[in-house]
Structure formats: structure tokens, C-alpha cells
């Protein structure tokens, strides 16, 4: 599951290739017009509708967990340990007599917040670095790019595990670990896009007008590099959700007894033969959410990629 996702986390070669070949990027006027037309085209993509529906569903679960969940996710019933699914506990109970349905619902909080927050961290740090590297070039570019390459040389999950182990187990640290590990993805992507945009006539025009560098970067370059970054951010969210589950599975995420899908799978591992229902629902939840984000990402890519 992880491998293909990690590969897709690398900057989309088609996008980069287009930039290198000097293909026509998003023009200034089009950047202003595109959101509305993109939104309407997105609404017609079946992938976007299904993916959006899935993500929305889980976001709602996470937001209204205390209302929706039938039980307290950390309350143990010692008389109801590892019960198979029935009417009282539709998803069964776990090794400590807790309702699995309630834990899956509350677990959505850990998964989604880790997914969103870590990608926001990665984007907020990675994109400006990539913009600066691509726009100024020279020594700045070399310094930033080589650092990003060095971090990229370490496999994403390994880096996240090392960081999480170093920071100590907690949900916040998991977010930081995943976010920091994902920074170079955005540095590379933003840099590649900026390199292409920088050569455009309209950038030369604003430079000749004496507009300051920060203003050029954020008002003129950034909007034109945003579409592929948006696609990448959506796909990275899927990876981040998976990474959170992996870290929790290794005991590096959410502190017990608060539920996380990854730690639920970890606990279920010992009872795969006796109590398979313990593994099924958190496992399915992870799969569905990751598919949801990937569907949105693919649909966004289809809509925003100027070549299609």
C-alpha cells in the first residue's frame, strides 16, 4: 500500500517535464478565471464526487464523533471482551472490552487531523522554500535544493519514524514528523514550477516595472504554480493518513487509550484468528479514506493539468 503512494508523492514528472520543455503554463489572466471553471469541471468528475463524498463523510464523523458514537471510546466493559459484532456492538468489541464502532468513529479524528495538519505544515514550509529556490536560483537554489534532495534520499516513512521516535509519542509529534518528512516533496515541486514561470514574459514585465521580489513571488508566481501543488497536497494527505496509521501501529502515534486506527490494528494483530473483527473495521476505514483522497487528487489533476 505504502510503496506506490510514496512514488506518487514525487513531483509529477509530466508536470515537471512540461515546465522544462517550456510548454505554455497557466497564463496570468487564466489564473484568475480558472477557479470557477475548474470547480464546475471538477463537479462533473465522478472520481471527485465519490472521493469528495468519502472525505466529507469521514470529516463529519470526526467533527461530530461525540454525538454519533454510541459509546465512550475509552470506556472498558470487562464483561464484554472481544465480543463478535452484534446489535449492541455492530463492529464488535476489542481486547479491553471497548466498542469498536465508537473507536473507529473517534479514530477518524486522529487520522484526518494528522492528514490535514501535516500537509499544511509541509506546504507552508516547502512551497515558500521552493519558490525562493526557483525564483532566485544560484547559491540559494543550490543550498535549498541539495538540502531537499538529501532529505528525499531517506525514505519518507523511515524518516517519519525516526522523527516521531525522537520527538516522543503523541499525536502532535506525529503530525510534525509526517509534515517535516513531506517538506522536500513540495520544495521540489514548487521549485520546478517556479523555474518555468520565471521565464514568462509577464514576469519579465513586472520585474521591469520595479515591483519588489516578495510581491512578484506571492502575487504573480505563486498563483501560477498553485494547481499542481494543490493536486500534490491532496495526494500527500492520503499518504499522511497512511503514515499516521503506520506510526500508531508502531506505537509512535496517538497515546493510549485514545483511539487511532493504526493502534487499533496493532492491538488486533494478536487476535487475527480469534477476533478478526478487531482488525477489519479500522483497516477498512484506512483503505476507504486513502482511496477517497486519491480519487480527489486524480480528479484535480485531470481538471487542473493544462495539457488535458
Amino acid at each position: 500500500m505504502t510503496e506506490p503512494s510514496v512514488i506518487s508523492a514525487l513531483p509529477d514528472p509530466s508536470v515537471n517535464g512540461a515546465a522544462m520543455n517550456g510548454a505554455v503554463p497557466v497564463a496570468i489572466g487564466r489564473a484568475k478565471r480558472s477557479p470557477r471553471s475548474a470547480a464546475s469541471r471538477l463537479a462533473r468528475e465522478p472520481g471527485a464526487i465519490i472521493g469528495g463524498g468519502i472525505v466529507l463523510f469521514f470529516v463529519m464523523l470526526a467533527l461530530f464523533a461525540p454525538v454519533i458514537a454510541p459509546y465512550d471510546p475509552i470506556a472498558s466493559d470487562w464483561g464484554a471482551v472481544r465480543l463478535p459484532p452484534d446489535l449492541a456492538h455492530p463492529f464488535g468489541t476489542d481486547d479491553l472490552g471497548r466498542d469498536i464502532l465508537s473507536r473507529v468513529i473517534f479514530g477518524a479524528r486522529a487520522s484526518l487531523s494528522a492528514g490535514f495538519v501535516s500537509v499544511v505544515i509541509a506546504v507552508l514550509i516547502g512551497v515558500p522554500l521552493g519558490l525562493v529556490a526557483g525564483y532566485f536560483g544560484g547559491v540559494t537554489d543550490i543550498a535549498i535544493s541539495r538540502c531537499a534532495d538529501a532529505v528525499l534520499a531517506c525514505p519518507f516513512l523511515v524518516l517519519a519514524i525516526a522523527l516521531a521516535a525522537f520527538l516522543g509519542p503523541s499525536l502532535e509529534n506525529t503530525m510534525i514528523a509526517i509534515g517535516v518528512s513531506a517538506i522536500p516533496i513540495f520544495v521540489r515541486l514548487a521549485r520546478g514550477q517556479t523555474l518555468a514561470v520565471r521565464e514568462e514574459d509577464y514576469i519579465s514585465a513586472v520585474i521591469s516595472q520595479g515591483v519588489s521580489h516578495p510581491k512578484i513571488l506571492f502575487a504573480h508566481v505563486l498563483p501560477n504554480v498553485m494547481p499542481p501543488i494543490l493536486v500534490q497536497a491532496t495526494l500527500t494527505t492520503a499518504i499522511a493518513v497512511l503514515a499516521e496509521a503506520s506510526l500508531a501501529f508502531l506505537g509512535l502515534g496517538q497515546l493510549p487509550p485514545a483511539p487511532s486506527w493504526g493502534s487499533m490494528l496493532d492491538a488486533a494483530r494478536q487476535f487475527l484468528l480469534d477476533a478478526p473483527w478487531m482488525a477489519v473495521s479500522p483497516g477498512l476505514a484506512i483503505v476507504i479514506v486513502v482511496i477517497g483522497f486519491n480519487l480527489i487528487g486524480d480528479a484535480l489533476n485531470d481538471v487542473l493539468n493544462p495539457r488535458t
Binding site: I74, A75, S76, W78, V81, D95, L96, G97, A165, G168, P169, G251, L252, L255, P256, P257, D266, A267, R269, Q270, F271, L273, D274
Partner: protein, 515 residues
Amino acid sequence: MQLASLRKYPSPAAIVLATSMLVGGILAGTLLASAEAATLRVAIQDDPDALDPATSGTYTGRFVFAAMCDKLVDIGKDLAIVPQLAESWQWSADQKALTFTLRHGVTFQDGEPFDAAAVKFNIERMQTMKDSRRKAELSPVAGVEVLAPDQVRFDLKTPFAPLLSVLSDRAGMMVSPKAAAKEDFAAHPVCAGPYAFVERKARDVIRLAKYQGYWDKEHFGYDEVAYFYVPDSTVRLSRVRAGDLDIAERIAPTDLKTVRDDQKLKLYVSPGLAVSHLMVNVGAGEKANTPLGKDARLRKAFELSIDRNVINRVAFNGENTPDNQMIPPSDPYHAKGYPMPGREIAAAKAMIAQTGMSTVPVELTFENSLTDARVAQIVQSMVKEAGFDVKLLPLETSTAIERYLNGNFEMYIANWSGRGDPDPTLYPFFSCEGGQNVNKYCNKDLETVLDAARAESDVQKRKELYEKATGIYLTDLSSIPLYHPNWFFASSAKVEGITVLPDGLLRLRDVRPVQ
């Protein structure tokens, strides 16, 4: 197109390759099966450290030594000391000298004779070797005197009753003086046991072969023994079920039903000597400065809000032994006068109220294993009702152990392997300067009793002293014992004669294939 067609239809080359591998595998399997007919294949949970009794520090190391290195004395049923390399022994009247009469006709696996000089050599080696881990265990020994080729006397600094128990473990294992003179002894260990070292592949397998010069070799039914490193308990069990291995140690309590239900398997259970306890920091650094660390009443309230039977049932399918003492009930020194209290939430609440508190915060640190994590969550959930607000802090093993050793915790789930004698458990934890006293508990009255018990060789009097000691440490409650893990071994039904004693080692005497 090309790729897609390849995926759907394997090429002829691939089919030929797969078939040849299959046939080759079957052939090789048949050959191996006939060649290794009398090999006992054992699955062990950890890869042992150095195979030298002087420097070894792991349980699985002892597991291998049980087949390779005989000891001066052994542990029998009920933890009684029985002869092994020594046939008999005699304490002097002042309890400060112990004389062994050694077994005749014993040779090391390199053919060298085993005699009194070898015993003296071994004890001095373990006392002086740079990396020896036996120094503390042998510290009461002032010197070893050779009286005759078959007679050797241990002179003690002070009377030390647990000495025989110490010599029933690694400190009593005799290695060949000639082999020990070589630099890489641990890579080619030579002892005086029934099986001699053949080869070791790190993190894979350790192979031993029967020593033909062993004095008691008729009682050993296998020609070879191989110890395979298989860390996951479920995998160990699966491999025994599949017939790939013969014996698996430490089966998870949750897998026992599978073993019991399988006609092709046999289950061996023995009470263990180990204890899992909640250690409370009462005197080590800043983390001792907590309500629980300062007030024994709160610790008692904590104990009363736990139901040890529920912990055992939920976390271990009821297969371990819940208990309130450091020494297990199977040990003759278990204090009968202090039975395990039940869960009394009302009493616990009243005791908390006495101290003027309503919510008591506690931080519980533990090694991030499934077992301890489950126990921690059960404890957290149980004591909450009485008013304890437990925060869980699971840490990666080496970080956790480092904090444990430095006393950097408020409460810690400590797991102690236990010994055949109560002294090596109680003295390190409860004497003021004890090696395991990381929570810095100190009660001079208790120390006096423990010192007296150490010097007492009369079993009945020693029992009374340990009864008294138990009363003191259970009142101060610097540690709250929870349960004693039991030993669970699974074997193929084709192996017979296995007995598991409380020290949890696999003794191969009388173990043989079913005819």
C-alpha cells in the same frame, strides 16, 4: 501491451524455473528430513548474546546453556537444589564455608577432565574477568580452595544462604579451562554438558551436537539440537504446527487455546519465578515528588482500586498468576500470611479522602510492548473510578529502560525475571543500596530482616524472616506487584519427556522422539 501479456500468461521459461524450484525443494526437503531425523528443532524468542556463562545476560542464552553447560548444582521440582556436576555438598558449622564433592569421570567437551582445579579456575575467572556479569552474584565468595581432585571448598566473607541457588545458574556453569584461555571463547564455547557447540549463525540458528563422552548420555534422546531465532510468538507456534520446528518457547497466553485444541501439539505449563510490578518512585530525584510517591496511603488506595483477576483475565486469558507479592505463590518462600487483597473501591476512595485529595495525578511509564500497553490501559481504567488520573507514557524499549535505571519516572511497569531463591529478588529491590532499587526506597528495618534472612540456612527460620520482610514491603508498598507470568511451551506431539520447571529452561534430559 507486452507487459500486460506477460502478466497474464507466464512465459515458458518462468514455468520451467518454477517447476524446477518446486521439484528441487521437495527433493531437498526429503533429504534433509532423513538426515536430521534425530535433530530437535527449538524456536527461541530472542537471539542470545555471548555464549559464555561469565558474560551472558539473556534468558535465551540460559536456554541454550541448559543443553550445553552443566552446573555444579541444578534446580529440581519445588525449587529444591539437586546434584549435577557436584554429587554432594556440606556447609560448615559457621555457615561460612561450603564444600562440594564432585562427580567422577566427567570431561569437558574438548576431552579435558573436570576436577576441583577447574572449579577454582571457573569461579576465579568469573570474579576477575573484565566483562563478567557474575561478579555481583559471586561477591560473597572470598576464595576457592582445592582440597582433593574431587573436593573443593568455597570460603565466604559472610554467611550467604542463597549461594547454592546462585550456583544453580550461570555462575555454577563450568567451562573448559583450556578453551577459556583462547580469545574467542564465546564463539566456540566448551562446557561439560550433554550437547557440544557446533556452529552459530547470528540472528538465525545455534546448532549443538551430542557429546559422546557425556557421563549421562543414555538419557538424551536427540543427536542434535538446533535453536532457531523466531521473535514473534504466533510465528513460532505456526512453525511448530506446520511441523517445521519441534518446540516453541513462550507461547502467548492468547494462543493457548489453539495449542490445546490441536491434537498434533502438546502444551507444557509451569508457574514462573518472574514478576510484573508497578514500581512507584518514592525517592529518586524530582519525579519522586508526587502525591503517590510521598504517601503510602495513596499507594495502598491505588492497590485497592485494582482488580488483579480482571487484569489476568482480560490481558492474559486468565493464564498467568495474579498475586500481590514479589515472590510467586509456587515458591516455598511465598508469605502465606499476606493473601492478595480484592478490589475495594469504597475503601480506596476513603483512603484518598483521608489525605485531603480528590483526584490524584499519576504518570505511568512503560515499555511499548503489547502486553504492558494492555496492562497499563486496564490499570488506568480501573483506578480512574477511585480518583486516580493516570496519564500513560509508552516509550520505546531502550528509552524506557534508560529512564527506569535513572529513576526518571513516577510509576513504571517493571518486569523482573525472578530467581530460584527469594534473596536475589528482594535484596536488589528493597535494600537501600540494591542494584534494582531505582525508585530509591529505603527502610532500615526491612534491610535488617533481609540481611538476617541472607545469613540463615535453616529453611523454617528463613521462611519466618521472609514473612516478616513481606509484611514490611507490603506496608510501604514502594512496588505494587500485579502478576507472575507462567511459562507456556508448545511442542509437537512427536516429542516426549519434556518437563518445564519454574526457571523456564528447556532441560533435555529424557527428551526423545516418540517411538
